[in-house]
């Protein structure tokens, strides 16, 4: 799993606090595309302060590229703060919805069992499918997806990671 050795792979989880204004997402996305950086995942939402939005991004790159990314992000007028959570302890979660094929009763049983192991919820049921909701670390979501692949995943959507530094943050 890529996420199990996130750090070795040079993947970083960055949280950006920005002014909650129209056009800010375009500025950030534009910065990445213009400079040839890749975004692996991106999640944006309002915060406890409605004038501030937070974006969680996962990006890959060596130290130099990442340093440039932080600096370029900081240069944008609407960016208030950029934090690389990968440097310390942080909590991260992701949510996925999966529509899995259930060709027979046995398959349905199996899938429900797998879901319960991963503490996923059944949120919809059809004649030949089950829709599961799973939340957790990206690695856990990946593991469950891996387990369900053999049954046939009809449709899947993921939110991308959201992350927050731990209160007693220890630098790694």
């Amino acid at each position: 799993m890529a996420e199990n050795n996130e750090r070795e792979q040079g993947a970083h989880t960055i949280v950006i606090a920005v002014e909650n204004k129209s056009g800010v997402l375009a500025r950030i996305a534009g910065l990445f595309s213009a400079r040839g950086y890749n975004i692996d995942s991106l999640c944006v939402s309002e915060t406890e302060d409605p004038s501030i939005s937070k974006m969680t991004l996962t990006v890959k790159g060596d130290e130099r590229i990442l340093e440039q990314i932080y600096k370029q992000l900081n240069k944008l007028i609407d960016v208030i703060k950029v934090s690389d959570l990968t440097e310390g302890d942080f909590i991260d979660r992701e949510l996925a919805l999966l529509k899995v094929k259930t060709l027979n009763a046995a398959a349905r049983q199996d899938i429900m069992q797998i879901a319960s192991i991963f503490r996923a919820k059944v949120v919809d049921i059809g004649k030949q499918s089950l829709t599961l909701e799973v939340a957790g670390k990206t690695s856990k979501v990946n593991a469950m997806i891996e387990m369900l692949k053999s049954y046939g995943i009809k449709e899947m959507i993921r939110t991308g990671k959201i992350a927050m530094a731990r209160e007693l943050n220890q630098k790694k």
């Binding site: 056009g23 534009g30 440039q68 600096k71 007028i77 609407d78 960016v79």
Partner: protein
């Protein structure tokens, strides 16, 4: 009062007395308001001219340049000018009209998403949707454009917002939680830098446009004279200290002097101030200053270690940091290093064969007779490089040239802006026969406003710099670079616009007419100099080669 009036009052609050622009449908309320406002609006003949003129105004004066255009094509015509200002960190505020807010997104007549288009080429931009936001936006725009690392800011103003009723309450102070440029250099870093400088055996200063922008010329000169460290310049750094100073080695890089490039290659410490290590100065990045430690002083943290890994970064304002460095500065024991450089300087001077009318001669001549405060604008190409090599800039803000973007057609409208900002100075545009045709329509602007801009066309009937590359690297296949068959009669052209035109074919003729050209105070003067067609710019470091692999002149 209307949004348009609020806009005009806000501009006045920011000290704007001159703008460059072109009217249009959705800009009408603002134009109408400006008409008797006391702000001088220079009507250009193409919006690109407005953006470059505002840029030239800003570069030559240090004030914020302001331009305006209508929506759609008016706005897109500003784009090249905005990008030019962005690449060279020039404070420009561009105001564009926009279709009414309820029409935005409907592909209305003359609608473009100009904030979207200019996002990567502005320092910041705004679309004002509410008349209440005008004053704060203008305040922020001027602050952002002129502070930190300066740059262009665009304000898009829909026509219904210009017409809407609102109150004028101009904010006294500005508070932006997300924008706080660093001016003070970190004291420990400055201390570390000085320690390193003291220990260096072969130190070299590398000066970029940041020194000129921050007004650090005096501090730099004191530092150079106290320490005795030689100086090389980027194109944008020329004029920061006098080009004829004994320790000034001229420009480095692709068309730099041999001695500047040799000095970079052999130095053991490079003190870079306000520059960004563009590929035109570094050549092959792996072999750039191979044995040097690098100190980099820059106000923009993202410039540091972007292209070149830096040993001692100092983020802050060049003037501030140089003042601190000057405090401790003392004479360094680097006589043998300086002697070595002086030997190179003597052995490998910039030179050219003196037969026929040579462009280098023209530049040298101008450099010799023009006063120190004359402002020299250039177009882009050979004309620009010859100017950088052979004109001894003696004061900051006397060279106005598109360094980063390399915009042909920049020089003449920029000269118009510079002349308006500096009515009493001599303003010259050194042009090529290609570049001048890119914004020749601005002759009308210059004539109408009685601007005595001197246009010196180094006419070699071709796009010389591109032809030079074709000659050297493309087996002399001159694809699309010959202008000979359809070149206009520039003298007649000047005449048609109501300007004065001259043609010279020999150095003697040039010498003879130049006093007359300089005497003209009422209208633009164009001199069509039929230069030696084959002349090229040397030395030259081929793209991607190391700085010490310079090509010399070809026979």
């Amino acid at each position: 009062m209307t949004g348009a009036e609020i806009m005009v009052r806000s501009l006045k609050k920011e000290g704007v007395d001159t703008m460059f622009g072109y009217p249009g449908g959705v800009l009408l309320p603002l134009c109408d308001q400006l008409y008797d406002s006391g702000i001088r609006v220079i009507l250009v003949r193409h919006e690109q001219g407005a953006a470059h003129a505002a840029d030239g105004y800003a570069r030559s004066s240090g004030r914020v340049g302001v331009c305006m255009a209508t929506s759609g094509p008016g706005a897109t015509n500003l784009v090249t000018g905005i990008a030019t200002a962005y690449m060279d960190s020039i404070p420009v505020v561009a105001i564009t009209g926009q279709v009414a807010t309820h029409l935005i997104g409907s592909d209305a007549f003359q609608e473009v998403d100009i904030t979207g288009i200019t996002r990567p080429i502005t320092k910041h931009n705004y679309l004002i949707k509410d008349v209440k936001d005008i004053t704060r936006t203008v305040k922020e725009a001027f602050y952002i454009a002129s502070s930190g690392r300066p740059g262009p800011v665009l304000i898009d103003l829909p026509v219904d917002v210009q017409r809407a009723e609102g109150k004028f309450e101009y904010p006294e102070k500005i508070e932006m939680r997300s924008y706080k440029p660093t001016y003070e250099g970190h004291p420990l870093q400055i201390e570390r830098a000085w320690k390193t400088i003291k220990e260096a055996k072969r130190p070299l200063l590398l000066i970029g446009g940041g020194v000129i922008i921050s007004g650090a010329s005096e501090q730099l000169k004191i530092f150079v004279e106290k320490t005795g460290i030689p100086v090389v310049f980027t194109l944008m750094g020329l004029g920061s200290i006098p080009g004829d100073h004994p320790l000034a080695l001229g420009m480095l890089g692709m068309h730099g002097t041999k001695y500047a490039n040799y000095a970079v290659v052999e130095s053991d410490l490079l003190i870079a101030v306000g520059c960004r290590f563009d590929d035109r100065i570094t050549g092959k990045i792996e072999t750039f200053a191979p044995s040097a430690k690098i100190i980099h002083i820059d106000i923009d943290p993202s410039s540091i270690s972007k292209n070149i890994i830096v040993d001692i970064p100092i983020v802050g304002d060049a003037k501030n940091i140089l003042s601190k460095l000057v405090e401790n500065a003392e004479k360094l024991q680097i006589e043998s290093w300086v002697k070595k450089i002086m030997d190179w300087k003597e052995k490998h001077p910039l030179t050219y064969e003196k037969n026929g009318l040579k462009p280098q001669y023209i530049i040298e001549k101008l450099s010799g007779i023009l006063p120190d405060d004359a402002i020299i604008c250039t177009e882009v190409g050979q004309n620009q490089m010859w100017t950088a090599q052979f004109y001894k800039f003696r004061k900051p803000r006397t060279l106005v040239t598109s360094g980063g973007l390399g915009t042909m057609g920049f020089g003449f409208p920029a000269a118009i802006g510079a002349q308006i900002a500096n009515p009493d100075k001599i303003v010259v545009d050194i042009a090529g026969d290609g570049s001048i045709q890119m914004n020749i329509q601005e002759l009308a602007t210059a004539v109408y406003n009685k601007l005595p801009v001197k246009i010196i066309i180094l006419n070699n009937y071709c796009l010389g710099m591109v032809r030079q590359w074709q000659q050297l690297f493309y087996k002399k296949r001159y694809a699309y670079t010959c202008l000979k068959n359809a070149e206009p009669d520039f003298v007649k052209l000047a005449d048609a616009y109501g300007a004065k035109g001259y043609r010279v074919t020999t150095s003697e003729e040039f010498d003879k007419i130049i006093p007359e050209v300089l005497k003209e105070k009422e209208k633009p003067v164009l001199v069509d100099c039929r230069i030696c067609e084959e002349e090229n710019v040397f030395p030259m470091v081929p793209a991607g080669a190391s700085l010490d692999q310079m090509l010399e002149g070809l026979a």
